[in-house]
Every structure is written in structure tokens, then in C-alpha cells.
Amino acid sequence: MPKITYIQFDGTESSVDAAVGTTVMNNALDNLIPGIDADCGGECSCATCHVLIDENWMTKVGQPSEAEESMLDLNPDRASNSRLSCQINVSEEMDGLIVNLPEFQY
């Protein structure tokens, strides 16, 4: 199982064994990792599962879709490595993925 490490805004780290095919959002929720609200439940329609992907992993997680892009765009805190964690499906090659959580969700 690929390991994902979530880093809170205050620096707290938690690592989880993620199931392939589930989302980066779901793995955070299932392991009670704070910092992701996920109001819409994973529909790419509220942008409250915003995360910042470690720069070294940007190519591995792929590009945001047009729908994700339009939601990310509404966030004034958007950075170049911003993603919605509900739109990242975990794959074997994401073993070691590092995900930073923002200070606030919208």
C-alpha cells in the first residue's frame, strides 16, 4: 500500500497507508486527519479539500481537470502546487507522497 504523509500547517506529520484507487481526500478523512473539510463529499464543487502538493510530487499527481481548475481559481490563497485532494486518485507510484495542508479551508 502506498504511504502518504500529510503535514499540518503547524508542522504535525501523519503518515497513512492509502488504498489504491481511493482519493487523497478520503484517506485523510478516514484517518481523522484534520485540515480537510470536504463539504461536498468529493464532487469537485466546494474546494474545501484544498491541499498543497510537495513540489517533487507534482508530476506524479498529474494535472487538474478544467472543472478542478475553475474551483481552484476561486481561492485567493491558490499556489502553483494547489490541488483539490478529492481529485487525486492514489496509485502505486504515489508511495511516499507528501501533502501539505493549508492554514484554512474556504
Partner: protein
Amino acid sequence: MSEAVKPEDTFVDPYSIPLDSKFNVAQATLFEQDAQWGYFERLRAESPVHYCDESEFGAYWSVTKYKDIMYVDTHHDIFSSEGGIVIADQDEDFTLPMFIAMDPPVHDDQRRVVSPVVQPINLAKLEGTIRERVVGLLDELPIGEEFDWVDRISIELTTQMLATLFDFPFEDRRKLTRWSDVATANEDMGIIDSEEQRREELFDCLNTFSELFRERQKNPGNNDLITMLAHGEATKDMVDRPMELLGNIILLIVGGNDTTRNSITGGVVALNENPAEYEKLRKNPALINSMVPEIIRWQTPLAHMRRRAVVDTELNGQKIKAGDKVVMWYVSGNRDEEEIENANQFIIDRAKPRQHVAFGFGIHRCMGNRLAEMQLRIVWEEIMKRFEFVEVVGKPERILSSFVKGYSKLPVVLHAKK
């Protein structure tokens, strides 16, 4: 002596009338009497995407299930907001362009200018001010004496908040309340006497804000909404497009006023109707955090949003034609048992309280959602510190509208904490 029964007090059983193209939920009187629930329950069960070909607003589709609402809200390429987001059309000779009623890219550009005001980092700075004002208002309230909660708390508090966000002259703040009411009023509500009067008052609003806009162009304030508009790349010339300026000001006033106002009142009503939940809250005030989104779901202060199909499309088996008006009934989606467990119960410690459609979803999702939650949280934290019981002592008066779902009056008596 028997009391006269007014015709609007007695509604036909929604299950006794044919579910055909005359079945019309967009009747303000239904909402005024809180009699809309059965209509929506029936639509959800028997005709979740329903066409009504005759109403005072013309023909329209009703979308009543949570999932279908989510679909419409997130497909802005199929269901456009251009031209209006309420069931009633704007008068052709008096249209107010505002970003909520626009599609990308203009929507995105304009929304981006004002959204930082409700960015969490800025909200944190506002928390102290909000709490101070809430405390000030609550401490002046009489104990054991009847008063109107809507006027003294809900309206006053949201108006103070709005004046702060705009950095609007504080002593004139009730003008904001008035403009908000006027903007969403219809002639039957008793707020305005005629459409002419409405326009006159809204032009007064425009003049006031144009002046403030020009003044802040020269002397920028500190992160207030008018300064942001006056200096934002996509909006800095808006003062030369007066109808667009007025439209966006109205959007921000209504968005920040009617909605939170009615959720503040709605919470008091809900807790009175559900005494066991009120007791839970007294025992554990920490439940305020999950109660706040539950109040917003339960109240759903904006009953619907409207879209217009731009292409022929299909939704839950129904063929919708390009140009058709499509109304998403948030008020119904929030009671959809298929998506929300025990949706027809008010439960302040739900597992997933934020799973509701009251803020909408997709690119038009409410910009002030976190501000609204913060205001409600602070109000309830301070209420629970002071009062054992905010008792509703008379019938709530509801607003005559199928859009703004709320209260015009709520008589209450306060009981001091034991």
C-alpha cells in the same frame, strides 16, 4: 366566537391535486405559511425534475433532489447564470448585472476582486469586532419581557456586520437593511408601494455608493469591500457602469444580510421546536460548532437559485430544452432523505453537518460561507453564556417570498441563566 379563516391559511393537501404541469411550488404564500414542505416531498418522490408550464414567473423546471441540484450547480457550461439567478426575471428596462448572475470568465474576474474580504485570514481579524458587537447587543436585552428578536438581534447584528465590511457610515447602517429589503421585495410584501418607488430607492443606494467609491479611489480604506472594488483590476471602472455597480452592491448587501439574518432567527425557532436538542446544547455548548451548519441547512435562507439551459440536455430522465428556466430548490435538496440521513430532523450533533446545499456548489458557491458560520457561532456562544432559554412566545411571521426564506417577526422572552 370563531376566528375568521383567511383563505391563504388553508392550503390544499399537495397529495390531493394532480401532479401535472400546473403543479406549482413557486408560490410565495406557500412559503409565508411554511406550507411548502409537502409539495417538495411529493416532487422528490414522484417527479424530481418537474416541469410547470404556468406560473407568475412563466414556465420553469423544478429540481428537487440533492444529487440533481449538485449536477446543475456544477455544470455551469450547460446551466447558465447569465441574466438572473432568481425565478423572477428582471425587468428589461431595469437590469442589474452582478457577478453571481454571470458566467466565466467575467464572473471569475469580478468575484476574485472581492473574495479576499472573507478570506479566513481576514475573518480571524474580524472575530474580535463581531464578538464585541454581539456582546453589546445581547447585554442590552431585557429579561422576562417580550421583544422582537428579528429586529433587535438578527437585523441589527447583520447590518452592523455589513456596515463594517463596507466601512459604511455606521450611523446610517439601517439604510443597508432597507436597500436589501427593497432589492428583493415584490409589490405584495408591503415593503414598497410601486416599482417606481423601488427604483427610486435603489438609485439612492447607487448614488450613495458611487460617492463612497470615488472617495475610496482617492483615499483607499483598510481592506473594505468598496476599496477593493475601487482598486481591483476587473472592477476599478465600475463606477462608470452604474447599473453594474448597483448590481454588485446589491449582491453583496443581500448576500451578507438577508441570509445570515434569517439563519440567526431560524436557529431560535429550530431550538424551540426541538426542545431535546436545546437541552443537548445546554449540557454541551461545544456542540455549537456542528449546530451552526445544521441551522443553515435547516433554515436554507435562500430557498432556490435559478439557471437557464444553454443547450438541449437531459436531467434525471427529463428532456430540458435550450432556453428553459431551471430552478434548483435548495430548500428541498436539504430535506432529501436519500442523501442526508434523517434529513427531516433537526440534529445539532450530526456526523456530517456541512453536507448541505444551502451555500450552493460549484463556481457560484456562497463566498461568505465561513463568515456566516463565524457570525452564527459567536452569536450562539454569547447567547449560551447569558441565557437559559430564548423562548419563542408567539407565532413567527414569515416572509412572503419563494426566494428569501425567512422571518419578519419573532416574539421572544429571555430567561436568565440559572
